[in-house]
Symmetry: C2
Subunit: 188 residues, 2 copies
């Protein structure tokens, strides 16, 4: 049983990696369950055994990305300037940013399967950002906000800029704009 | 011909108003073309003559909202503190905010019919915000940014906070968070 479970988890991980590749190559709409199944050498029926819907697979992909981006831990160990590097890194992988943004948009509609994932993720990101900001600035940022007041703004700027950048990458320098915001947070 | 055109425009306006009502009552998913047609006393086929797709109708609704919110003009005549009031107003109309956010999410996918609308709208909003910020602060904001640097951040915070608020209205006080950001922009 333990060996079977390990094999099943390995297979799940391989599917998520394949999905990430297909997303990078073909974008959100191109990442069909069929295309992912083909990449990993399964029938579409076989893939449905691991991920019953496209949304379930995409949520697994986004969870995997969060794991990578945080080095497998929480964001609490981060420093504020690493956030700027993360946004720079994101600007080199439009496929996954598009997937995140499209699924986030869908998630606010009634009974969407990704709603719980994003709700939980934002609560976690806000708490972790507040901890990062407190480590950097103490109980009050130079501009006057508390870490808890600034945390939702950090997440909002990061996600809001992604939409402007995805729609018009030549008009919006996403990493530069995010660094402008970080400077604003720290400006006296 | 002129009378026919006037009648047709009147009918379009009535459909957009009906769509806004249906969105307010039933949200993004509940706002089907059938429900809107029924509200305005048309067959679904009759409605398709004015708006061939749900996306076309929703774009018209969002354009109409922008007209209302800006008093029929550009945002350039605005003052910065009015932006805070707009976000407060938005917090009282979750249906239209949900529609905006869901459609924005879809728009970043390949060949989406709303892509051009949002791309154009963001270019306009950034230009108008920069003008509002310049009128308030001159060529350099107290925190050190230029109006052109701050403008995409204002739009990003506004739209990014909407996702957090729609997902978890009890956890995120959207108007308060946006006013925090405005204070940060103006803090010395």
């Amino acid at each position: 049983m333990a060996a079977a479970r390990a094999r099943s988890e390995e297979r799940r991980a391989a599917i998520v990696r394949a999905a990430l590749e297909v997303i990078a190559e073909r974008g959100y709409r191109g990442a069909s369950l069929g295309a992912v199944a083909e990449r990993v050498g399964l029938t579409q029926q076989g893939l449905l055994h691991y991920f019953p819907t496209k949304e379930a697979l995409l949520i697994a992909v986004l969870e995997e990305r969060d794991q990578w981006d945080t080095g497998g831990g929480a964001r609490e160990g981060w420093r504020l300037d690493l956030l700027g590097s993360l946004v720079e890194y994101n600007a080199m992988r439009p496929g996954i940013v598009q997937t995140f943004s499209a699924l986030l948009g869908e998630s606010v509609t009634e009974d969407h399967p990704a709603r719980e994932f994003f709700t939980r993720r934002y609560a976690q990101v806000r708490a972790e950002m507040a901890a990062v900001l407190r480590a950097e600035y103490g109980d009050r940022l130079p501009g006057g906000l508390t870490p808890e007041q600034a945390a939702p703004l950090v997440a909002a700027v990061m996600d809001g800029l992604q939409y402007q950048w995805l729609l018009d990458p030549d008009a919006v320098d996403m990493p530069a704009a995010f660094r402008d915001f970080l400077r604003l947070l720290g400006a006296r």
